[in-house]
Amino acid sequence: MSPASPTADLDTIELSPEPRGRRARAAVRREAGQPGTWVLLVAVAVAVVVGAQTPRFFSVDNAKAILVSTGTIGIAALGVTLIMVCGGLVSLAVGETAAVAGMVFLFSLDLGLVPALLLGMAVAAAVTALQGAMVGAWQANPIILTIAAASILTAVGARLSATSAVQPASDAFARLNQTPLGVPVVVFALLGLTVVVQLLMKATRMGRLMYAVGENRAAARAAGLPVALTVLGAFAVAGALMAVSGAFSAATSHTITLLGASQLTFNATAAVLAGGTAIFGGYGSAVRTLFGALLIATITDLLLLRGADLGMQTLVKGLLVLVVVLLGHLRGQQGRA
């Protein structure tokens, strides 16, 4: 390690070294070359064709339903994007974290909407940051680690819901269910948070660190970058986002259970991958995930309208994850050859 602070250089690193004129075109080419982009385009085309043949798909009510589920999936998926970009792979505790945070939110609503939301976010951020610390500092296996976290959260959630019925402590949550301009609040929240996360990733030092750590952890460590702190930070923000998703779910149904927890985990993971964020990190963005979430919500809705049950919905998402992972890998190999 050199005695001079090598971290100072990071702020001046140009991620795309091409001159400005060519940069935009190169960016388009780069985005178009990502397997996720093609999966996304093909999937959207299929969705439109199938949608055209599905009664009630093109209706205002259905559009609203899709947007609401895009909101809860998307907000959690923004968190998963941060985890994936910095090389933390996936979290299998997304749904459980959201559910427990949702319970904390409902139970503390007598403090008011914002304090309750902040409390839920703080709990989820702390729990998830702890996992991030272990992944970041020790390279702990993220899958088994998050499964362990999920089973701990399930036990905690079961205890919370066993001692008292999970219901709001006041009706302060109602503001989360409003529909200003005819659009549910959760949609505005998703758009706002997408902008915030996109800025965090692209315009801050923390964001640049996340890409650097995800791209090549060993190099980042060798360069003296704060690897552990970066991963911890990404996980902490991810936890807070899962909590926001949980709070919206809790507000919509006035309660929250652990039953649907794994569905949110699968949906969020599929949304991030379908959006084109690289599973092993170093590449991806919040805007990509926004589109991925819209796609997953649309697919779920289409399958529901066509009478497919939970099983078929889950099967399709699993296959989608598999296809994106395989395509991403094949393209990566081509690049090396």
Partner: protein, 339 residues
């Protein structure tokens, strides 16, 4: 003849032995705080619980030894149960064979894809895990469980044999013995460890890497399938979403059994001891009347701890910490005192 002690220590850790000894002592001391003597059915229950997670720990552990990761084993566990129950209502054996055939075919295909494309098994099996859970629910007519109507088979499979065993636990123990023999008496054990230790070197040394990987993923799926079918017949119903418990307990068993998450370490005897320790601990909680929620919490925290200890950099980190403390002490000692 000299024995390379370091090599012995590298290949087999003391952890499984210590864990097994500690839990067995805890189990034997149970009457002291449970308020009743141990009965033969406590041992029967012990082996039944072992039958529930043992094979998952084994399948998961064998793949980890070879440096691979198979999350889909939980999906296979669920799918196999549903197929065995649905097709086995009249002819249970037929149902089991069909289920195991599907598991074997799926595992081999998954192994083939992973071996041919040389793709990391972790993200692939995350995808297949989700897809298999979905498929299980589709096959199970979207119910949370499918009832096994063949009560005779359920009674047969859970009947006591030699007081403390049942046909189910005997099958699982037999699989462990067979796997243990294959692992220690043939080249497979060494080859698996070589695959997990240094993939490139083992390829150069002439290990048929691709064939071994396909076989290994097939075996892991088969083990998950046997566990799933046995479990469904035993309970009298196939659960379409087994939750995280099978993997939490199975992974904990394999890791306590001395298998490293980084690959190249561990053996079948270790996995047996590790899984047995987990099961005994569960039975201790059960007999002592510990609330299930608390025992879940303990298992979750325990797994968290093992994963942390198993993490590649945890050791460097601890070493660095010790070193920095030492330099601080040395500096303090070396510093001239101005007192």
């Amino acid at each position: 003849m000299s024995i390379d002690l370091r090599a012995v220590r590298r290949s087999s850790s003391l952890l499984p032995l210590v864990a097994l000894t500690a839990t067995v002592i805890g189990f034997l001391c149970l009457p002291a705080y449970a308020g009743r003597p141990l009965e033969s059915y406590d041992l029967f229950n012990l082996f039944e619980a072992f039958a529930q997670i043992g094979l998952i720990a084994l399948g998961f552990g064998l793949l980890l030894i070879a440096g691979e990761f198979d999350l889909s084993i939980v999906g296979i566990f669920a799918l196999s149960g549903v197929i065995a129950v649905k097709l086995g209502q009249a002819h249970p054996l037929l149902g089991v064979l069909a289920a195991l055939g599907v598991c074997l075919a799926f595992g081999a295909l998954q192994g083939l894809v992973i071996a041919l494309f040389r793709i990391a098994s972790m993200p692939v099996t995350v995808g297949t895990y989700i897809a298999l859970l979905g498929l299980t629910r589709v096959v199970g007519d979207d119910q949370s469980s499918v009832t096994f109507e063949n009560i005779d088979t359920t009674l047969w499979i859970q009947q006591p044999v030699a007081v403390i065993f049942s046909p189910r636990s005997l099958v699982v123990l037999a699989v462990f013995v067979a796997a243990g023999l294959a692992f220690s008496a043939t080249r497979w054990g060494r080859e698996l460890r070589a695959l997990g230790g240094d993939r490139k070197a083992s390829r150069t040394a002439g290990v048929p890497v691709n064939r071994r990987l396909v076989a290994l993923f097939a075996v892991s799926s088969l083990l998950g399938g046997v566990a799933g079918a046995l479990s469904a017949f035993n309970v009298g119903a196939a659960i379409t979403d087994p939750g995280s418990a099978p993997l939490t307990l199975g992974a904990a068993g394999a890791l306590i059994g001395g298998v490293a998450l980084t690959g190249g370490r561990g053996n079948v005897a270790g996995v047996f001891a590790g899984a047995m320790s987990i099961v005994i601990l569960g039975q201790i909680f059960f007999i002592a009347g510990v609330d299930e929620l608390y025992s879940d919490l303990v298992f979750g925290l325990g797994l968290l701890l093992i994963v942390a200890v198993n993490a590649p950099s945890a050791k460097d980190w601890a070493t660095r910490l010790r070193a920095s403390r030492r330099t601080l002490v040395e500096r303090a000692l070396a510093a001239p005192s101005h007192a």
